[in-house]
């Protein structure tokens, strides 16, 4: 299955991308995507746990099982206001 992974803020700076298509095994969880990002980007080495996570524009846990077509975003510490 495929999901769309969106990058914002520091994660866009680190990856140099706004959005990528990711192929995952069926039943993959949101937290696993974070771990695979950590293997790709050394700047994430010190961030063992994922930041907050959004699936389809709603906050979700690292345990959330993803489905084909989902929109996933890791939410670094927010600083609005």
């Amino acid at each position: 299955m495929n999901i769309r992974l969106l990058y914002f803020a520091v994660l866009r700076d680190i990856t140099g991308k706004s959005e990528v298509e990711v192929s995952l095994r069926d039943g993959a969880r949101a937290g696993e995507v974070w771990q695979s990002l950590r293997e790709q980007y050394v700047q994430l080495a010190d961030y063992r746990k994922p930041p907050m996570i959004a699936v389809n524009e709603t906050y979700a846990s690292a345990e959330t099982v993803l489905r084909d077509g989902d929109e996933l975003a890791f939410i670094p510490p927010v600083a609005g206001g």
């Binding site: 914002f8 961030y47 906050y59 927010v78």
Partner: protein, 139 residues
Amino acid sequence: MSYLTDSTIDSADLARRTMRPSDGACIVFEGVVRDHHEGKAVQSIFYDAYRPMAEKEISKIIDDVRSQLSDVAIGVIHRLGHLRVGDASIVIVCTSPHRAEAYEASRLLIDRIKETVPIWKKERGPGGEEWVGWQGAKC
């Protein structure tokens, strides 16, 4: 209606649009880019957002606050992009017949917006650029 903008926020206009004839109090909160943060000089800020989600989260927060404080009318605009010292990044207008509810709503809104809305800021100062909160999030 959108809660996000890429240009200067017109807080007087937001207040006018929020206010009803039965309102006796109007509280306008403006969050403004200041010239320092945690001891470091700040020259400018770049605000980024997960726009559709930020719109939804702000809308949810407004609905929640309105369900607690039903007499209050609420207007919120958050600015994104490059801001300089003195620019308003957010304007929150709360109006109500009596002032206590408007003050309470105003504080609830800014506290909750800062907590959960997916908006980020990168501060630029003489020492370089930094995404606020990222260094402290190591785990």
